[in-house]
């Protein structure tokens, strides 16, 4: 008996590029997201996150490069296969004139894999009233309805494009509880883009930082936190900052204090700083994901 092996990566892109005229929105992106893991894509506004997601969904054709989801070229993928990908955009597009239950029945008709029990459980969890007209839902309820409609067909890959943008903290938590319960229920690949970096740090196995269409870093979340440090060096009288150590992503100095953020930090980073004798004392500080993100972007802007 021959067994067809499942591809190792749920999402794989090689040199994925999107140009609009002379503007390159996404520039040779290489992504490899293993099955059953959560990937967080973070980047400032206009970095190319949504364009990336639209290409992963097959909604936009890349100018060049390869985009595979669940082992298949997404652009040529038949609709039945695309049903294995769930998608929640920032503003879910559901017919506004339908009642919630009608919208559920409407979407249900497109899928063979729809799980009624899961759907009704989510409806209860999210406190969605089936009789309410979609157009009258609050932003939070609409977001939760979008998630319910994306999860109920039990997709193998769930793509969330800034799903909690503009939601109040309570609704955001309910929304994330829904995602988390789903990840706990069965192994699932989740691709999440978000500006709420605390949520990304909590949920993502690995993260990528996108800036001007390019990935500045792509790493396991723990590895990124463990290897990116802020160094606070005190300079000797009259000394000025020397050459920054390898891996420096941002630096600034004021009076006798020289601050640097180093990606790929090790003991040799400190030796490097001390070697010309201009540094008197070095303190090493941990950073959270938000601080690391900001330093990567600020460093890029300074060097541009």
């Amino acid at each position: 008996m021959t067994q067809v092996s499942e591809p190792m990566f749920a999402i794989e892109t090689v040199g994925m590029t999107k140009r609009f005229g002379t503007c390159t929105a996404v520039d040779e992106l290489d992504l490899r997201i293993p099955r059953g893991t959560v990937f967080g894509l973070i980047g400032p506004n206009g970095a190319g996150k949504s364009t990336t997601i639209r290409m992963l969904m097959g909604l936009s054709r890349p100018t060049c490069g390869v985009v595979k989801v669940l082992g298949e070229h997404v652009i040529d993928c038949p609709t039945t296969r695309k049903a294995r990908i769930g998608y929640v955009p920032e503003t879910p597009s559901v017919y506004r004139w339908m009642k919630v239950d009608e919208a559920v029945r409407f979407c249900r008709s497109f899928y063979d894999t729809w799980n009624d029990e899961l759907c009704s459980r989510l409806k209860t969890l999210f406190e969605l009233n089936g009789e309410k007209v979609v157009g009258s839902l609050s932003k939070g309820s609409l977001a939760k309805l979008g998630l319910l409609l994306a999860i109920s067909p039990e997709p193998e890959v769930l793509i969330l494009d800034e799903p909690t943008a503009g939601l109040d903290p309570l609704v955001r938590e309910e929304f994330l509880d829904g995602v988390l319960a789903e990840i706990c229920r069965r192994p699932q690949t989740v691709f999440l883009s978000s500006h709420t970096l605390g949520d990304v740090q909590r949920l993502a196995d690995s993260v990528g930082i996108l800036h001007e269409g390019r990935l500045l870093v792509s790493s396991s979340t723990d590895q990124l936190l463990a290897s990116t440090k802020r160094l606070r060096a005190v300079l000797r009288d009259g000394a000025s900052p020397a050459l920054a150590p390898p891996g420096t992503i941002w630096q600034g100095s004021e009076h006798r204090e020289w601050s640097l953020t180093v990606h790929g930090f090790s003991e040799s980073t400190i030796e490097f700083l001390r070697r010309d004798g201009s540094v008197e004392h070095v303190e090493v500080l941990d950073l959270n994901l938000e601080e690391i993100f900001k330093d990567f972007i600020k460093g890029r802007r300074l060097s541009a």
């Binding site: 059953g36 893991t37 959560v38 938590e173 994330l176 509880d177 988390l180 319960a181 990840i183 706990c184 970096l197 605390g198 949520d199 740090q201 909590r202 949920l203 993502a204 196995d205 979340t221 723990d222 936190l225 463990a226 004392h281 303190e283 500080l285 941990d286 950073l287 959270n288 994901l289 938000e290 601080e291």
Partner: protein, 130 residues
């Protein structure tokens, strides 16, 4: 207990610390089960893969042990190990304080008296917390 995603320390370390403290405090006693991966992930609102990693590390450290198909249990030596680990954390905090004192030019005898003062201030609170 809340996992603090604003904190710089990786979440799998925070989960380990949380369980170690719970074991040291007797919330989970030797021979008792700790919550399942799923239950812990939902409780702490974190990715279950991260909880799995924390549990693996704790198993490697001998604090908990898996019983196939049943769950994770605190080992007979788990409570003592958790307490030793807590002592290590206390020493780390002292070292942080000593480094701050050193860089600010505070001499060791003054550091000791500051420690005594802090203990006196915190003691009633700590007793109440137990």
């Amino acid at each position: 207990m809340n996992i603090d995603s604003e904190k710089a320390s990786p979440i799998f370390i925070q989960i380990q610390d949380y369980i170690r403290r719970a074991v040291a405090a007797g919330v989970y006693k030797p021979g008792e089960a700790i919550p399942s991966l799923r239950a812990m992930a939902i409780k702490l609102k974190v990715n279950p893969n991260t909880v799995k990693r924390a549990y693996q590390e704790l198993e490697r450290a001998g604090l908990i042990k898996a019983r196939k198909g049943v769950g994770m249990f605190v080992t007979p030596d788990g409570a003592a190990g958790a307490k030793r680990h807590a002592e290590g954390m206390v020493v780390d905090c002292f070292l942080d304080g000593i480094r701050i004192a050193h860089s600010a030019g505070i001499d060791p005898s003054r550091v000791r008296s500051l420690f005594e003062e802090a203990s006196m201030r915190e003691l009633p609170v700590a007793k109440e917390a137990i």
